[in-house]
Symmetry: C2
Subunit: 574 residues, 2 copies
């Protein structure tokens, strides 16, 4: 039987609760957002006793279906002040699902000034006092845990940033190589730190496994689903060969590659940080150009990046980080980006918000654009140590902008922009503005349709509907445990959606239509989140981009983000 595990830090108790029957079709984001909306007072302090940190595996996680093993983490965000869901790969979703845990709720605040580890296995959850682990970065933490637990375990952990309750602190998720994925956005690591939980460890040895209503039907559909994924050249070739870094040259070509703190849309040294260059570099050094963030993935868009001497630096070096450090901060080379990426993972800060914060810090004159040593120093000596400057930068781009009185601050709902400038890729700007998540490319990724020529990024035509549609689809994708890139197959490969609907019905036992499985679920998620946000004080007036986006033309196309407030409001009002 699936269950909910509720852990209270207030009295160090563990409770196991039944799953409400109406949640049968929910997983991931649908579960976290339902629980947060139901149980967390929208006006509470995000770091106070009333906030709850909820983890939920996607509906299909732990099954044999490929690319369905994402884990959702949810809470009221210390960064946006609204509801937050942030998903990651790694092992934990599959382990939770096999342990038949539909949701893990972490609530309350400890009465004593102690830190804790939560351990979850087939016998249930237990809470252990920890002192040895405090102050460790995420990589050092993995080492200590490996000494205790061997190699095969799941872990959701915070680095120093989460301990310091910084608003850009994230939650790291251990993957099958022992490297790190991130629940990056919205400061969920600060919520975990406020509850003084350093790490949640998982062991699914002896787990009962996922209950699948119709295993035979599921098996056939899973095979078809994998074939559909592999049939998409963008996945089996582009993503697999170059990872998300393939976007560097593509977004440069669109004129939407953030450069010099969102001042330009193209970066002349883009080739030096491109996916093609990254692949060549990795191969030449004996790293892994393909790598999966979760067991069973057929896309394998991750990679293992080594330094010149062949030593491991980082895994899963994403386009966002490459572009926001490489072009936007003008670091201009992949080794610099990789070192900073590793540090951000280790300290446990969101690489998008922190990279944008570095751009704002450069704008403020704290260090020059292009100063790699400066970025490394700020990460190691300031953020990791919780100095005043570290507190500012670890608070994200918005806090950095406020502290230094900067107006060119790329944030929506206080959350930093991913690496697509909304003046050249207007649909993504609609998503940044209108998503209940704040600026988040994964909340409604219109970039694929722009690259595919379905819309012109420089024009408003079609962008509002495109953003809305992708936001709704993403609400479903995030609930099913699918990786974002499955969107590409779902959109382009005729068989993909059919197979996915078969998988869902075979998993739960029923006959839901594609409409119900996608649009119905996605709209439910978004409405739940928007209602929470309204009560938390985030209204349509927060569905806006910063003023400079609407006034400062972006070279080379010299467009501004020119949607009216009424047009933006029409996304959810129509």
């Amino acid at each position: 039987m699936e269950k909910i595990v509720r852990i209270s830090l207030s009295d160090l108790s563990v409770k196991v609760e039944p799953v409400p029957p109406e949640w049968a079709w929910y997983g991931g984001r649908a579960v976290t957002s339902t629980i947060v909306a139901k149980e967390v007072p929208p006006n509470c302090h995000p770091l106070g006793p009333s906030n709850k940190l909820v983890f939920a595996p996607g509906l299909l996680a732990g099954t044999m279906a490929s690319d369905t093993g994402r884990l959702s983490a949810g809470a009221k965000s210390p960064l946006t002040g609204g509801i937050k869901e942030s998903s990651a790969g790694g092992l934990s979703a599959q382990m939770l699902a096999r342990l038949q845990i539909k949701a893990l709720i972490v609530e309350g605040l400890p009465k004593e000034d102690k830190w804790y580890r939560i351990h979850i296995n087939k016998d249930g959850a237990s809470i252990h006092e920890e002192t040895e682990l405090i102050g460790l970065g995420n990589y050092a933490l993995q080492k200590v845990l490996e000494e205790r637990l061997g190699k095969k375990f799941g872990a959701l952990s915070i680095g120093q940033a989460g301990e310091f309750r910084m608003a850009a602190a994230d939650i790291s998720a251990r993957d099958s190589s022992g490297t790190l994925r991130s629940h990056g956005r919205g400061g969920l690591g600060a919520v975990m730190g406020s509850k003084r939980v350093k790490v949640i460890t998982l062991d699914d040895t002896g787990a009962a496994g996922v209950q699948v209503a119709d295993p035979e039907k599921f098996k056939g559909a899973a095979k078809g689903w994998s074939q559909a994924l592999l049939a998409h050249p963008g996945l089996s070739q582009g993503m697999r060969l170059f990872g998300t870094a393939q976007l560097v040259n593509a977004i440069h070509a669109l004129g939407g590659l953030p450069t010099h703190n969102f001042r330009y849309g193209q970066y002349e040294q883009h080739e030096a940080i491109s996916g093609e260059t990254m692949r060549e570099t990795i191969i030449a050094r004996g790293g892994k150009p393909t790598h999966s963030c979760q067991p069973g993935c057929v896309i394998q868009c991750s990679q293992v990046y080594l330094d010149k001497d062949g030593n491991f630096v980082t895994s899963g070096i994403e386009y966002e980080t490459i572009a926001l450090l490489g072009a936007n901060c003008k670091l201009g080379n992949l080794d610099a980006v990789a070192i900073a990426d590793r540090l951000m993972d280790d300290i446990g800060v969101d690489s998008i918000d922190t990279s944008c914060a570095m751009g704002v810090a450069m704008e403020a004159g704290l260090l020059p654009f292009g100063d790699t040593e400066g970025v490394v120093r700020l990460l190691q000596e300031e953020i990791a140590k919780g100095t005043p400057l570290g507190r500012i930068l670890g608070g994200g781009a918005a806090l950095t902008g406020k502290a230094y009185g900067i107006t060119r601050v790329p944030v929506a709902k206080n959350q930093a922009f991913p690496a697509y400038d909304p003046r050249a890729i207007k649909g993504i700007g609609v998503t940044y503005a209108t998503s209940p998540m704040g600026a988040d490319h994964t909340a409604g990724y219109t970039v694929g349709a722009t690259l595919g020529g379905h819309v012109n990024g420089l024009k408003k035509e079609g962008q509002l509907g495109l953003s809305k549609g992708t936001q709704i689809a993403t609400g479903a994708v995030d609930s099913l445990g699918l990786c974002q890139f499955s969107d590409m197959a779902l959109a382009d490969i005729p068989d993909a959606k059919t197979r996915m609907v078969e998988l869902i019905n075979a998993r739960v036992g029923g006959n839901r239509t594609g409409e119900e499985c996608f649009d119905g679920l996605g709209m439910y998620v978004l409405q739940t989140e928007r209602q929470f946000n309204l009560k938390a004080g985030l209204t349509s007036e927060h569905d806006r981009l910063p003023e400079f986006m609407t006034t400062d033309p972006l070279p080379p196309h010299n467009e501004v983000f020119d949607f009216t407030n009424e047009e933006l409001d029409s996304v959810w009002n129509s």
Copy 2:
């Protein structure tokens, strides 16, 4: 003829415009809020080119009527994100009024990286490039200006905090003794700094004077008004003898004196920081126990505080500062408070927000409670120098709380609480929550009625209506140029309101009723401000106090702030 002077930093131009006839009855806050609401896009960046800084003398400023010389400053606030009005005494309102300037609008941003001084005299306004003045604190600035202009001039200036565009930066107003008053709240100094205006100097030599429609009637009413003020024992005795510091013992007795970062409502060493002790200390040292912040004041609640050696330290050492540093940060003696007060005036930071930020910094462990040397060091070495920690503290209590992940942060709409705990003086909590200004005791001062026994501060009964009524009255008081304390006469002395209505009608020329002059004007002001705030994203969900106010009982009465959201919303919805 009254006029509007519009100064654009974008093209360094000065324009003189006529006053719309419908503004004849407006002054002060009614003028600043009207102009900000009309001309500033609610969603603009408060430090960007679209924000405007507006100064307007009260309707009666510059006349012979006592205690009517307040100046309103208004803009979109970098602290609250909403509309802001902050008033101060000093010379400038009277000078502007005598120069027949109904409003001074400072707009745009300079194209070049230069700083400016605006000078206003009978020949108009002029813009002068300044380099010598940059980096000076407000006291040193006065010295340099005195060398240039003599002793008799008005000045509105920013210290280092305003230059740094800190969200708690204020605007200093020179008074007739050459000491400083403050437009303290809401970060208006940052707006002035963003426009790179270091100081506005004023000289009313040869000014035409205020146009009074019926001078004879005005003269009679002015005499009656002064008598009404002096007839109030709270003004002619309490305020005059002890200044606002008379409140220390009174608020301690109510159990609402913020102590140890709003953890307790009483402070055992309250006698050491009381108004009585202050008066004795000042007299013993040869300072001035009474002093007027504006020429012609009959109350004279200000004072001149000297150190043990008889040297000037500060002027106008207010209850808020005494309580928030003395009790809430537990500095525990008046010399410590006076030194910090002088530094805050000099650097140009709001003493309420900065003192609360110190309390939050103590909560965060940055320095111990009671550490006077620490507070002085943070002011001199951090805030005044714009270090990272100075940027945090100069951003106010809210930013300090965010940077350090603290939940016990006494702010409403991001603005720090004055020195009345809303759990023991519940009406003031309603004002903090529901005022369009954010937490602001001067926006609707229910404390007088509580001390007078008209309401019980520990009970909810009568508080919602009391707050609403005082907020509306304050909207009028702030527009007329009246000092807050005239409220006491208006409430308690039967002749006061009659005389004030006579003054208003004699000034403008008309026959408005008391209802029109007070309730009508006050409601107009509040509605104008609330409509701006709604468009800026501040809804009823922002009319709330922080969670700890509703959950943590305040000793000794162990009350919480227990108004429901619906009750708070009823203030403006009913």
